[in-house]
Symmetry: C2
């Protein structure tokens, strides 16, 4: 699993589509301006998203992009995998150079964790994200409320 700023760009753009796609298609130019992402970079990202049927393009004036399916049918994992490519690491060949099982053991553990992260991201849809996070505290609250949400310093969550 890879999760970089590229994936964030894609998710952000898809969120934009979700929020603004109800009244006609959204142009990349709009997303570019609103989200502060280069137009051509967006085109590249959307080429990947389109190839996975996550968005639908409409050409010509008045055109733009729609979501490829309903917002509750698109998971965050779908989006990230489309642009970031799910890198298949470890896997040490299954048999070759398995150092006393030690290497494979840790690799298996990482695989397990990796799978958990994946299914976690797969369990969150665009629709859900918009429902719980966005609409209640809309707009641009100054700054202080958000700081309390950040988990940076907290050490409370311990339940698996």
């Amino acid at each position: 699993m890879r999760l970089s700023t590229k994936g964030r760009y894609a998710v952000t753009a898809m969120l934009d589509l979700t929020l603004n796609g109800s009244d006609g298609p959204v142009t990349l130019a709009e997303i570019s301006e609103t989200q502060g992402i280069s137009l051509s970079y967006l085109e590249q990202l959307f080429a990947a998203l389109r190839s996975k049927q996550l968005v639908k393009g409409v050409r010509g004036p008045g055109g733009g992009y729609y979501l490829g399916r309903e917002a509750d049918e698109i998971s965050i994992a779908d989006i990230i995998c489309a642009v970031d490519e799910w890198v298949e690491f470890t896997r040490c060949g299954g048999n070759r150079d398995c150092q006393d099982g030690k290497r494979c053991l840790t690799h298996n553990l990482w695989d397990d964790l990796s799978n958990e992260i994946f299914s976690f991201l797969q369990s969150i849809t665009l629709a859900e994200l918009v429902e719980r996070g966005g609409l209640k505290e809309q707009g641009c609250r100054k700054e202080k409320e958000k700081a309390s949400i950040m988990p940076t310093a907290t050490a409370d969550t311990a339940a698996a």
Copy 2:
């Protein structure tokens, strides 16, 4: 949040420490050979881990590395943040260039998601990972069992 192969290297190495640190410190040379990671690269990663007190170095012959605290006190998020640096994106300044609240809205949504991923990774400790994943199916199973778990090629899971 960034989650790359660099973070995987760090987690893998820390897992190695967890599994083998009970009888004396583990040398980077051992980890390098067992896990197939360059020694100098490990040194760089461990410099970061050490600065965050996640590992303790012991110099001289017979030296090596211990975990900095108990395995159930070290979360995956701790490790990844140490080496990958938690990049604080979005946040659009709180006030400036807030495009009708649109940009901030999507950024808030991403922040929420980012926080969830973080607290998810913070909820998993090294000790937990070893307990559930590793010990039951130890060693290097040939290959087929693992394939069924991997979500790479499947397109079935769509339910949230």
